[in-house]
Symmetry: C2
Subunit: 342 residues, 2 copies
């Protein structure tokens, strides 16, 4: 699998990343929110023992214990989409096993005991599923999963029961946003059992025209069906976006080019940048790169800026307690240096 942040493959243009998450629990053990720290840490040990049985896994993966790390570093994991808000909130007993490429992470004591998460660059739900399925098999060999013949995998929240699968893609839809077609699509998606969310999952605002589309239903369908359904919907949305881009470019060529080049000009020169406008300009520049209008900026740069900008954590702890103006100043500096260095 390929780390999405470091991917510059042009065929990935609209879809930044594909993500698979499997929710699993250990049988006859209360769900994490019912565990105290001691019991929680026992679960961490249990999962580690099961996971690190083979030398290959020992070489490729490391466990990060959130309670051993400072909040700012943990926040960086979150901003990189390696862990969830829920795990962050459970830092006192939460841990995750991470591979070197930062594409796979196994969260322990999130909402469920185990959350296997694979994120790969571009539109590749199959690849991400195959890999998470292997990890699931490995763990299942050595752990007693909470499983019901009729219901499937049991989970802390009933919406995850069954396959425990959530598949999602992160997709850049500026033209549908500009042409106000996104609301209609949002509506249509929810009708077919999918949801559309912001960059940072459930309840998060939509920033910089980047949307996360995922399956709502995990029960009653098998894993391949869920993935195929989502892929079908995403392909339709990609088509809509491509058509919308064609239309706005034909109708407002200079205005769109102006918007794109100004965004790059401002990102390269601003002294203060708040995160909202920064993400908006990054979206405009991304559109320019995706359309082949801007040639001296690559998608890796934009992915990194997307992550860094959102989180503000340019120098981790240094930025804690700093004023909004200081954050805007540091953000602008970081963006300028990234774009001009190249």
């Amino acid at each position: 699998m390929e780390n999405w942040i470091n991917s510059n493959r042009t065929e990935n243009k609209l879809v930044l990343s594909s993500r698979i998450r499997l929710a699993r629990n250990i049988g006859a053990v209360p769900f994490p929110h019912m565990l105290n720290e001691e019991k929680g840490k026992e679960i961490v040990n249990l999962v580690e023992d099961a996971f690190y049985k083979s030398q290959i896994m020992k070489d490729k993966f490391t466990t990060k214990y959130l309670w051993e790390s400072d909040p700012a570093s943990n926040r960086v994991f979150f901003d990189k989409h390696l862990i969830s808000k829920n795990l962050l909130d459970n830092s006192s007993k939460g841990a995750f096993i991470l591979d070197d490429d930062e594409t796979t992470s196994i969260m322990i004591n999130e909402e469920d005991h185990i959350r296997i998460q694979c994120i790969t660059a571009g539109f590749n739900l199959e690849g991400a599923y195959d890999y998470s399925d292997k990890i699931d098999d490995l763990l299942e060999q050595n752990l007693n999963y909470a499983f019901d013949e009729k219901l499937g995998y049991l989970t802390a929240c009933p919406t995850n029961i069954g396959t425990g699968l959530r598949a999602s893609v992160m997709i850049h839809l500026p033209a549908l946003s500009i042409s106000n077609k996104i609301a209609g699509i949002l509506n249509a998606i929810s009708q077919v059992g999918m949801t559309i969310r912001g960059l940072y999952g459930e309840g998060s605002k939509i920033y910089g025209n980047i949307y996360q589309i995922s399956n709502q239903i995990s029960l009653g369908l098998d894993e391949r069906e869920i993935i195929n359904n989502l892929s079908g919907v995403v392909n339709q949305i990609i088509n809509e976006e491509v058509i919308a881009r064609d239309t706005i470019f034909k109708t407002y060529k200079y205005n769109i080019e102006d918007r794109i080049y100004r965004a790059l000009g401002i990102l390269k020169s601003a002294v203060l940048l708040n995160s909202d406008e920064c993400l908006r300009f990054l979206s405009d520049v991304r559109l320019g790169v995706e359309m082949g209008i801007i040639k001296d900026v690559d998608l890796i740069m934009l992915n990194k800026l997307l992550v860094k900008t959102q989180c503000l954590l340019i120098n981790d702890s240094k930025l804690q307690n700093s004023t909004e103006e200081k954050k805007s100043f540091d953000r602008a500096k970081m963006v300028r240096e990234t774009l001009i260095k190249k």
Copy 2:
């Protein structure tokens, strides 16, 4: 005298140019608006004969006959402040005598038969007056001026009677504009017999924070008194602007720097620029250059852009009849090329 457009002298910072205009008429001849084309052209010949008596003047000056030139070229003279709107409107009988440096122009058949105009770079009303006075003496030797012992020089409009003198400076006042102090100053100026106008004189809008401050009264004071009074007022305004700059920089350092650098970033990258926002951004960049924040742009560049931007006449006749979008496109291209070439 020094052409203001080509001046990069840092001591001229706030004041772009100083201008002296003397209104004169030939005795016993109706004012220009009462002359038909034939009679008007006779006046042109009369003034030329008086002016070109010496070889020095023949070498240094040329007459431009507006009726021989196309409207677009005539418009360029206007945009460079070499002729007035009134002369432009009187193209069928209007002419002007221009020196090589484009600092002095003697308009014939404007509102008055003769309008001697000297524009020099920076704050130098004395220099401009001395030069226009010499030209006035030369003409007076060979022409019979309309002059009344009590009233002084007679002019078509009574507001110019007396000295026929209008002195003005073109001054950049962004900080007073930003801090909303300009209205108070405008009011104070009119109380002491001065007026403040936009870049292109009477009735013109104020663009890009560039103001023209001039004497209102030409009667009852001698020339030196008028000039001294105006200089005093301008010096006060310069002080106010300097204080306002200090204050906004101390209070909003990053915001002002952000505004300045973004303006430059946008000017260097925009694909469409309308003249209003272009002049606004040019003012921001000029402030940056004047404050020593921006170092890789010089004032000559900004002066040229100021003239070119305002007029839209990038390629003279080519731009006639073009759409607003085309004008914005060409303006943005011209600005980019000027700023990036360097």
